[in-house]
Amino acid sequence: MGSRGRRSSALILAFALAFVANAAHAGAQERAPLLWFQGTRLIFESPVPQNGDLAVSTRDPGLRRFLDRLGATFSYEPQSRYAVITAQDRRTIVFTVGDPWYTAAGVRSRAPFAPTADGSDVVLPFLTLARALYVEPVADGGEMVLQPRIGVLDVHADGSRTIVTVRAAMPLITQNTNDLPDRLQLTFVGQGTSLAPSRRAPGSALDAIDLTPGGTVRVPTTTLTLAGIPGSVHHVVPGTSPDAFSVVFEPRGPVAVNAPPTPPPLPQSDQNPPDYGATPAPLIVAGRATVTDLAFVQGTDDALTVRVALSGAASYEWHRLLDHRWYLDLASTTLQGPGRDERPSFGAVQAVRVRQTGSTDTPAVRIAFTLAGDQAVDVQPSATGLTITVSTQPAYDTARVGTGRTGGPPVAVSSVAPEAMPPAEPWKFGAPTGVANPRLIVLDPGHGGADTGTAHNGLVEKTLTLDIAQRLRSILVAQGWQVKLTRETDVDPVSQDNIAKMRADGKPNADDRAYLQTRCDVANSAGARLFISIHVNSAPFASARGSTFYWYKPQDAPFAQALEKGVVASAGTVDDGVRHENFYVVRHATMPAVLIETAFATNPSDVELLRQPSFLQNVAQGMANGIKAFAGAPASNAVSKQ
């Protein structure tokens, strides 16, 4: 063959190859079905059919739109091999790059192909993902309809009550409702189902459950019929997301038929968290703790530090007696080994005794000090125990009693390694060594200006906090205190010096810090005796209610307790407790400081209270009572510090 012939053959071969490649590509395009979802076409930029599924990149806007419509979020980063999709009801679907196995709400399954990395994105098996989100691909003619489904119908017995929980891919829209006391029939539009058509629940308040699919492939309907036993009653409880709800059936009993719905016990008890692939481990019962070790350490300035190592969690209560004895009781705690008697040759502690006390059923461990005087005693709980430090310096706030909790929270013991605690963060702002103005109390009305704080049910936090602060100021001034507010009007105070200082320090988000530090500075620079930051709370649950008292530094705790007693008694709010939290203003105010969340703007009962001026006055009076219990009257206080 001549060179021309060879050239012609090469050209023909090249054309042939190009044709085959083009045909193959066209074939692939043809094989990618037309997808319909919620009455519109779902268009992907480059779907690739693969093993009966569709390979779609998370970069594809079509996939993003699909997830958005379902209220699902997607998380992936190239440095991690996991791609996590979180459904609206918080189920997670987890894919691993390079592995065909995936997990949907704890159930492990195999996809037709393994996801692959695609730069900063990942290519996923789309139809598998859709099914995991309760969206079933259904063929309709030559097209494929992505049909949202009712994915879960959970029946749970709780005593005489039966709870049915329904979860679907999309928000549930009801077309027809037939509601009798012992029978409920609902027809949902736009959602199909492939769940078992009928179930019986013998021995419960619910006799039968029927699911009847209807409609068309593109506009499906599902009729749910719940038939209770004769004489039973039911009520519907909305779910935490619009794609779920529960129905509670119970035999007619002392509970009135028209009683307002109460949240049912949940299908999966949080005491025994649901499995996500491994057997849940038993929980430690809080309060069964053991003192495993005691260490006595001489610190700087001859301070005595007693480190108490604990296994488990325990609550404690300490008391300071008038005869310079100080003791701490660890409740429901056992002492490993014999008791201890120590007589340090240094500092202000004359004797230390550690004893097993209480009874066999309610054991306790007491750690007692005989002090030379009213020395400062600092109790620092941690997840691994307790550290008690007795200073040689006189106590600034000689509170007589305090409580707290120590040790880790309930943790699974059979499958979780012992919790090695990270080193405790050093306390950066030490106890005040002196008070420049022992008659001054600084009140911080939370938020202000553009920062409205929480806003629910017509209540705005910044307005309420200023109102309470002004009422409290009137009471305190009448008692002889000097009072300063961090803001007098609807502004969010900030010091430009603070902004400059924070920026110079290289602190992240210097401006935000500066706003909060400015409030602290009002108290710190004036050498105030006390600092109270006033807030109004809110929560995602309407059930959360009451007054909460937050502290951070050790000297805050007894102050928080005093305010707790005062406010709860005066205002009649539910006692939501004294809590240790890392709130900026409490942490950075150098004197005893407490952040008070007076009530919840999201709880109907608390909302009614917050709307009444008399309640705001009672809250202010309660705080004043707490201040008096903690710090006494201003005149005697001032004298005692001079």
Partner: protein, 166 residues
């Protein structure tokens, strides 16, 4: 003789280098599952549950996975204080004993939920990431890539969170 001794020294050198590389690059041993914490509706009590791990067991992958599970919260039906809807983990980078977590802007929805929810949400996230097997003791949080000292809701400090922060 001198040559063989030199060869032995070279081999010994490479063995030592290899051992050192392995020591500093060894991956922590992760089991088949990790612990993820959630906060109960009282806003204080933590409860653990176990989630299965896929085949990826490198620290970055596991830390990212743990953070996404903590942000998603426990399975539906379990009563818990949860991050605002739509909040997702954009990235997690572990360096030394610090984990930098970047969350999407939806987390600022906490500002409508007050200090109660904000503290509870981050308590669960921090306890999850500081479990012993991850060798993380401090968690810093950014929002949409930007450093923030606090969220507007509860004024919780977000940089340098440790278990003792709560």
């Amino acid at each position: 003789m001198r040559t063989s001794r030199a060869l032995a020294l070279i081999v010994l050198f490479f063995v030592a280098v290899g051992a050192a590389w392995w020591w500093f690059h060894r991956s922590p041993a992760f089991g088949d599952s990790i612990t993820v914490y959630y906060t109960k509706p009282d806003g204080t009590t933590l409860a653990p549950w176990r989630v299965s791990l896929g085949p990826a067991r490198d620290p970055q992958s596991v830390a990212f996975y743990a953070a996404t599970q903590a942000v998603a919260g426990p399975p539906p039906g379990t009563d818990a204080v949860r991050f605002p809807a739509g909040t997702r983990v954009r990235s997690v980078h572990v360096h030394g004993t610090t984990a930098d977590v970047d969350l999407s802007k939806e987390v600022a929805g906490s500002s409508q939920e007050g200090s109660f929810a904000e503290a509870a949400e981050f308590k669960a996230l921090v306890w999850t990431l500081t479990q012993p097997s991850l060798h993380v003791s401090t968690v810093t949080v950014t929002v949409d890539g930007a450093q923030v000292a606090t969220l507007p809701g509860g004024h919780l400090e977000l940089d340098g969170l440790t278990r003792s922060s709560f």
